[in-house]
């Protein structure tokens, strides 16, 4: 068992900077997910953590111990790879036994024929075999032990990869998109199994994915990564409801959050898309802001005017209990998406004019540079003056400290 501490990790490949000042503290036994789009450096960070790659700056500690310069096998971490990385020429049993053989048998004892004659070898080999069989049975692959990886399905290979990591009882489990090669049904099933595995083993998990659903359902905390930087580390519900940064808000949530440009008219009123919303902005009149409104923050309104947005229906997506209505608003080029309850929504047709109301407390405000403005934490509202557009704005993170 071990906590993990990453301190200002930098990594460059030649001229390209892949990781920039990544700091992250992971508690013992925590399930932390690194979430980010493809190419943002998630795998690189995981490889640095495992010791497979050296960082250019910064330190990595595992269980209070600085592990920089320690070889991967000395770090007490195990990793499940996206491609599973099984050894194609070895049987499943040998695949799973290899990490134990390398650790528990000496080089002499591992020799093909001679090794078996040395004292102790037989006992250790039997122990390894027992452990492998036990783990395989636990994962439901006990009957596949004599096969080669090429003879398994994707899901079975995935289990073998997990099994190979498990037999060693590592202090930290690293998983790099272990489910991305599986079909949708299997993915949901394996997701549950990984959650269960974490609860049973109680060790630290660092899980990499670009799938929000995985991140949201599995994690204690989610670390959102973009272009080599950590934008926010928080529990899943906070990442969704209380993002620090415009990019986080846009990355999380499907359909995507609606971003509308607005101008503060006076205290408590913001002009947006030809309408006025009663939102406490704590900014001076004339300040330009971006309003982030999740699709489910809308509700059907009877009439336009203050507090509601009006647009013409472009498209309707029926999702069972909900409708996703795409609205064209005056002066905005991309449609607004509102998620409305199907049973409360009368028949609407494309081309029709529709009014949607907004819950002011669900509107997220972002400054021009993408920093979140004016949000309440611990019930205490942080007040800030925003001058006119272009005024310098103290980043929210500094204020929050």
């Amino acid at each position: 068992m071990a906590s993990v501490l990453l301190d200002s990790i930098n990594k460059n490949y030649g001229q390209t900077s892949v990781l920039r000042g990544v700091s992250l503290s992971i508690a013992d036994g925590e399930f932390l997910t690194l979430l980010g789009p493809s190419g943002c450096g998630k795998s690189t960070l995981l490889r640095i953590l495992a010791g497979l790659e050296m960082q250019d700056a910064g330190t990595v500690s595992i269980g209070e111990r600085v592990v920089d310069g320690l070889r991967p096998k000395r770090r007490d971490v195990a990793m499940v790879f996206q491609s599973y990385a099984l050894y194609p020429h070895l049987t499943i049993a040998s695949n799973m036994a290899l990490p134990l053989r390398m650790r528990q048998l000496s080089a002499l004892q591992r020799l093909p024929l001679l090794g078996g004659l040395l004292p102790g070898t037989e006992r250790i080999v039997a122990e390894i075999e027992t452990e492998v069989t036990r783990t395989a049975t636990l994962l439901g692959i006990g009957h596949l032990l004599s096969r080669k990886p090429g003879q398994l399905s994707g899901g079975q290979r995935q289990r073998v990869a997990v099994g190979r990591a498990m037999v060693r009882h590592p202090a930290v489990f690293l998983m790099d998109e272990p489910l991305s090669n599986l079909d949708a049904t299997l993915r949901v099933q394996m997701r549950a199994e990984i959650k269960e595995l974490h609860q049973r083993l109680g060790v630290t998990f660092v899980y990499v994915t670009h799938d929000q659903a995985e991140a949201m359902t599995l994690s204690d905390r989610v670390a959102v990564m973009l272009d080599g930087e950590l934008l926010q580390v928080a529990p899943p519900q906070d990442i969704y409801a209380d993002p620090d940064d415009r990019r986080v808000a846009e990355f999380i949530g499907s359909p995507k959050i609606n971003m509308l440009e607005g101008v503060v008219r006076e205290r408590g009123l913001i002009d947006v898309a030809g309408s006025t919303l009663p939102i406490e902005a704590d900014a001076l009149a004339g300040a330009h802001l971006t309003l982030g409104i999740r699709p489910e923050a809308f509700h059907l309104a009877d009439h336009g005017g203050q507090g509601a947005l009006t647009g013409s229906v472009r498209m309707i997506e029926h999702m069972g209990s909900d409708l996703f209505v795409h609205l064209d608003l005056a002066g905005i080029d991309h449609p607004l998406i509102a998620r409305l309850l199907a049973e409360r929504t009368p028949d609407i047709a494309p081309g029709q004019t529709l009014h949607v109301g907004v819950r002011p407390d669900r509107v997220l405000l972002f400054a021009r540079d993408g920093q979140r403005l004016l949000f309440a934490r611990d019930g205490q509202r942080l007040r800030r003056e925003v001058e006119s557009a272009g005024a310098s704005i103290t980043p929210i993170r500094e204020l929050a400290r």
């Binding site: 497979l52 991967p72 996206q82 599973y84 990385a85 099984l86 050894y87 650790r103 090429g150 190979r164």
Partner: protein
Amino acid sequence: MSFITSANFLWRPAAILRHAVLIVTGALILAPFVWMVSLSIRPPGEIFRASFTFWPAQFYGVENYTKALTQAPLPRSMGNGLIVCSLILALQILVCAPCAYALAKLRFPGRDLLFGMVLIGLLLPHQVLSLPLFILGYQLGILNTYAALVFPYVVSPFGIFLFRQFFKTIPDDVIHAARLDGLSELTIVWKIMMPMALPAILAFSIFSVVGHWNDLFWPLIAVQDRSLMPPPLGIMAFMNEEAGNDYGPLMAASTLVVLPLLVAFLAAQRWFVEGLTRGGIK
């Protein structure tokens, strides 16, 4: 593709031309071999006949082959060939695999330069180096021994190149997994990379064995002792001393020398083609 369309496909003009070219080149390459086999079963009188038939009027195979095997030290030179070729191959693999692994999968300064030097080594014909190698062998005092036949070939640029290309297709994740599992770099080479690169190793083995089994140039320089001569040199000595103009037994000896290679190649054909053409292991 269904059978019918593939049959049609064969009869398209382009396909006919392609096959014609292949058949002609194949025949050109094969003709001397056929002739060699044909000569090896002829009596002396029939060898210089103007008319050519594959099967001789009088079958003289038994006599020719007995003569080839008994009058010349052919078994001895074939034994030498076996020893020398296996030694060369074993040492080549021992040296090339770690080199290729380093060039394919490890990052260190100067790697590209080193690989460039391997490529240059690939371009140099071996004959160019024979004089320096001869002097080196003389200085080491190993001329006229098995070691003299083996040492110039231990480091094979071709082997390094071929293995490197194959190792490059093996995903990094497998190596990372092996490192996490506690394997040392050398263990990774022997326990993970080599088994995965088996087709490439087979292809290389065939190249290496064929090349050195048939090599005449270097053995001619390196050894004088008849008991050390590899097959082609043995045949040459046989031709000069015993056979004279007796081509029947000479061709029989040649056929016998080529035979093991032919059998080995046919047995390993599938992997050979795979090793040269295939990308990686999924």
